[in-house]
């Protein structure tokens, strides 16, 4: 009974952390981009503008829950729910610290890959159901991009699996006690970082929702809370990518003992999220064919060579 209660607190706390963390991230990102671009960003509501998220939430909740008459009703409503569900479900396997984490699956890494591969449906169904040209183009781009970047996202992680000999994320963290995997698997780390940004379709991989050419891409017809689900899902996926990199390459919760393990996990994740925001502020958007060519002609061979080299070194 006692363990069940602790587990329940664990689940609720992590869920709240993920959703509110993602909401806070929308403000952090706008503020940081503002500073880097020599302007203020949202600074009116509350201290330093930190209550901006509350204002945004009230506005989105007050909006009419509207489905366009030409839309495919069922699919239109299901799509944003998928977007939110898959990223939150993927968070369940992430071990934050000893004893903190929702579930300890033996196939944890595969579960994460499965959930990210289901994430494509949110974009595709949203685009299809909207029955809108911009949305359709955005959806097609998103599907092609996510399917191709997923291929080497999985391959880049297999090097880590080979070194640790497990798909269990807790065992993967503990295998890094002697040294973080970022050193022997630096190529894998770089590939996964790029693929992670592409999976959460953020700049420079935000072609599915490129504002200047596609209005808002796949979520052109969405408004109110349904739009908020897509929007928040994207930020949760940023958090998830950062947390996953922390677990797989940066030693998870491991760190000097003078601070609690959870602190180290959160510190590493936060630094990764900030670097992802900085990348958004620094890089331009490539052309669509450049993006696909980069994926198939550079990243995929690199991932395969990395896998081959890791296997050879492991055998020796």
């Amino acid at each position: 009974m006692h363990t069940a209660l602790i587990q329940l607190i664990n689940v609720v706390a992590i869920l709240l952390f993920v959703v509110f963390g993602a909401a806070l991230l929308t403000w952090v990102e706008r503020r940081l981009l503002g500073i880097w671009q020599d302007r203020y960003g949202p600074n009116r509501v509350g201290p330093l503008g930190s209550l901006q998220i509350v204002a945004d939430m009230i506005k989105l909740l007050m909006k009419q829950d509207w489905v366009p008459p030409f839309a495919d009703r069922l699919v239109f409503i299901v799509a944003p729910a998928i977007a939110m569900f898959v990223v939150v479900a993927a968070f369940a396997v992430i071990p934050m610290a000893p004893g903190i984490g929702v579930i300890d699956l033996n196939i944890g890494l595969l579960f994460f890959l499965a959930m990210t591969s289901l994430g494509v449906y949110a974009v595709m169904f949203g685009a299809y159901a909207s029955d809108n040209k911009y949305a359709l183009l955005g959806g097609l781009r998103a599907a092609a991009q996510m399917v191709s970047y997923e291929v080497f996202m999985g391959l880049s992680l297999m090097g880590v699996v080979m070194l640790a000999g497990s798909f269990n994320l807790r065992e993967l963290v503990l295998a890094q006690a002697d040294g973080w995997f970022i050193v022997p698997q630096f190529v894998g780390f770089m590939i996964f970082f790029v693929a992670g940004i592409a999976e959460s379709h953020r700049t420079p991989f935000d072609l599915p929702e490129a504002e200047h050419e596609l209005t808002a891409g796949f979520h052109t017809e969405y408004s109110g809370m349904k739009f908020a689900m897509f929007f928040l899902g994207e930020y949760v996926s940023v958090l998830m990518t950062a947390a996953m990199i922390t677990v797989l390459f940066l030693g998870g919760w491991l760190g000097p003992a003078w601070l609690p393990p959870l602190f180290w996990f959160l510190l590493k994740t936060t630094l990764l999220v900030l670097s992802m925001i900085l990348i958004r502020g620094a890089l331009p958007r490539p052309r669509y064919d450049q993006l696909m060519a980069f994926g198939w002609k550079v990243m995929l061979p690199l991932a395969l060579i990395n896998l081959l080299a890791t296997g050879a070194l492991k055998l020796m």
């Binding site: 196939i107 595969l110 499965a114 289901l118 449906y121 169904f125 399917v147």
Partner: protein
């Protein structure tokens, strides 16, 4: 006791969801809705795999079938832009009379299946199959099958490459 009854409950619920989703998949006229049910069906199948101890097969069912193959299906259907008109076409192609013969044949198969299941002994114990065991089996006793499958995939790849190839001499003539 409590765990085993919960286990059976999850098993029967996901089994029922699989059957219902597959039935709806066949009867829908809208292609995207049908694909949606196909995805639900393969997801609930993954739950059944997981319950039977095949965790790796469950993950592969989601990653490969639901996460890659079905996406390509949806991709193509989305580009065809099927609306109300094509749904009406579909409805016209599938009259109630067309169900008669396949229904009878399937009923015979069902009787055979159920009777063979009643006679055979169904194993009761569930033990988890680890990823390592799957790998050892694939690259041990089933090596030849894996190689054959890779031939098949390679020939598919070459075929796709050939079809998509640009023909320079043809484009110059036209």
């Amino acid at each position: 006791m409590m765990w085993s009854s919960l286990y059976s409950l999850i098993f029967y619920v996901s089994g029922a969801v699989t059957l219902l989703a597959t039935l709806l998949l066949i009867t829908r006229h809208n292609a995207v809705h049908a694909l949606l049910y196909l995805i639900v069906s393969s997801l609930s199948m993954a739950v059944i795999f997981y319950l039977l101890g095949a965790a790796f097969a469950a993950a592969m069912e989601v990653i490969v079938y639901a996460g890659a193959v079905m996406i390509l299906f949806v991709f193509v259907v989305m580009m065809l832009n099927q609306g109300q008109r094509s749904a009406a076409h579909e409805a016209a192609w599938l009259p109630a009379r067309g169900w008669l013969m396949p229904g009878i044949l399937t009923a015979i198969l069902l009787v055979l299946l159920v009777s063979s299941l009643m006679m055979g002994v169904v194993p009761q114990t569930v033990h988890e199959v680890t990823v390592k065991q799957v790998g050892t089996a694939l690259f041990g006793p089933y090596m030849l099958v894996v190689e054959l499958a890779s031939f098949l995939l390679l020939s598919g790849l070459i075929g796709a490459f050939h079809i998509a190839r640009k023909m320079p001499q043809n484009s110059e003539q036209s």
